[in-house]
């Protein structure tokens, strides 16, 4: 019996139909089948957070999702979120504060931070450094550049709260 599954889903706003191996996880699907290399393969068992993407609007571990299970769903990757300009301020802040270093964890960090800061402008409150650290705790940076990352996220939060242009030190 076939181990392939036909799926049709939206990736970064584009409708995509493919046949995938049932065992293929979302990150291999994005990287190997669609050529979207922004999402990283790290530990492949849900620990490191390098593969963080959005599924139906919420961040998720791409390595803990079978591509076959996403029929009809919507996936956003760092490529799509970069193109829309939604996290331009976060990206600028990461560059300004040297929060990227080797860059391997950066896409996951950005998408995770974006979820934390999504409602800042709306609620008028921004997370504390402790809350930022807690929220990013599932994303490993093996350059161990956490301090700069927390700085960048904090700066963007404060900037969004006050409605100014964000993230510049």
């Amino acid at each position: 019996m076939s181990t392939e599954v036909a799926i049709s889903l939206t990736v970064n706003g584009e409708r995509i139909s493919r046949r995938v191996e049932a065992r293929r996880h979302l990150i291999d699907f994005l990287r190997l089948d669609l050529g979207l290399m922004g999402s990283r393969v790290g530990c492949e068992h849900g620990v490191c957070g390098a593969c963080t993407v959005r599924v139906n609007g919420l961040i998720a571990r791409g390595c803990l999702i079978l591509a076959a299970s996403l029929d009809g769903d919507s996936v956003e990757t760092i490529e799509g979120v970069s193109d829309t300009g939604e996290i331009r301020d976060l990206q600028d802040a990461f560059v300004a504060r040297n929060a990227c270093q080797c860059g391997y964890c950066t896409p996951g960090m950005l998408l995770t931070a974006a979820e934390l800061l999504r409602d800042v402008a709306h609620t008028g409150t921004t997370p504390t450094r402790a809350a930022i650290r807690e929220h990013l705790s599932g994303n490993y940076c093996r350059c161990t550049g956490y301090h700069a990352i927390v700085d960048a996220v904090e700066a963007v939060g404060k900037a969004r709260m006050s409605g100014s242009e964000g993230g510049k030190p």
């Binding site: 065992r23 291999d28 068992h45 849900g46 390595c63 999702i65 079978l66 299970s69 807690e134």
Partner: protein, 292 residues
């Protein structure tokens, strides 16, 4: 770290789940949120020939309050939904309190309560909460539905009372009564790690006194561990420092923690005593101090 080869089927009804399972002859795994299963597949700790995706089965979804005075939580309710749902916050606030302790946001967005209970990790928060709140697990299978008390549901390390052809349909919690107090505390090395030791505690607050405590530990045994001797030592309030100390001593009778990657039994016993004091503090130390 790639999963082995398997077939994949998506079920939309319970009847389809039962049929697919029967056809696979016991060689199928159910996929709900997948936050433990996908890792097990990657490590090839689990090598099924068929994955049955139950994540779209409508009968496993939804949160509602039953006329019987129970909060019914569908098995596919994610941790994120659990924390945000007004009925959960009102009728079983312990669950909402537990959610931030579970893994990380990206995992809480997809992991489900049914998956967590069926997986039955010894260090998981929700099994202990279910025992502390005297929940009942609604299991369903081709031969119908049955309610299993949480206290008898967890039968060992990664083991439950579910029959091979059953799955969890929902979990039902007695709605919290006025005066019910509950809290959860745990110790981890890093945010989001499985607990080195944890405690879900429940008590009634009557006439300004805490009483009838239930203390359920996790991460110190094969599953949720009820600390009956310690709870009896606390008894009806006031829970004086002397009584708390006595209960801490009696934990040695309740707990027989196996060593794990975090440390040996003596360290776990120490952590359990620390957690008891913290939980009592959060429930509202007597006399005099009243929690909100």
């Amino acid at each position: 770290m790639k999963a082995g080869s398997f077939r994949y089927e998506r079920a939309y009804t319970l009847a389809e789940v039962f049929r697919l399972r029967r056809e696979a002859g016991g060689d199928a795994q159910l996929l709900a949120g997948g936050q433990s299963l996908l890792a097990a597949l990657a490590f090839r700790l689990s090598e099924p020939s068929l994955i049955i995706d139950i994540s779209r089965v409508r009968d496993l979804k939804g949160v509602s309050v039953l006329p019987s005075g129970h909060l019914r939580v569908g098995a596919l309710t994610t941790h994120r939904e659990l924390a945000a749902h007004p009925d959960v916050n009102r009728h079983a606030p312990l669950l909402a309190e537990a959610v931030p302790l579970i893994a990380h946001a990206a995992i809480r967005n997809r992991g489900t309560i049914g998956g967590s209970l069926a997986f039955a990790d010894a260090a998981a928060e929700l099994p202990a909460c279910c025992v502390a709140l005297e929940a009942r697990i609604i299991a369903t299978g081709p031969n119908g539905e049955r309610a299993i008390p949480a206290a008898t549901f967890f039968t060992g390390l990664f083991a439950t009372a579910l029959a091979e052809d059953e799955l969890i349909q929902a979990v039902e919690f007695p709605c919290a009564a006025p005066g019910d107090r509950a809290t959860i505390v745990e110790l981890t090395r890093r945010c989001g790690d499985y607990a080195m030791a944890g405690l879900a505690a429940w008590a009634q607050h009557v006439d300004a006194r805490l009483q009838t405590p239930r203390l359920v530990y996790f991460g110190v045994g094969a599953g949720p561990v009820v600390a009956g001797a310690a709870a009896r030592a606390l008894g009806p309030g006031p829970w004086t420092p002397h009584k708390v100390a006595e209960a801490q001593t009696l934990l040695d009778r309740d707990l027989d923690p196996p060593p794990d990657q975090h440390g040996g039994p003596e360290m776990k016993r120490h952590l359990a005593r620390v957690l008891l004091a913290r939980a009592v503090g959060k429930l509202g130390v007597e006399p005099g101090v009243r929690a909100a």
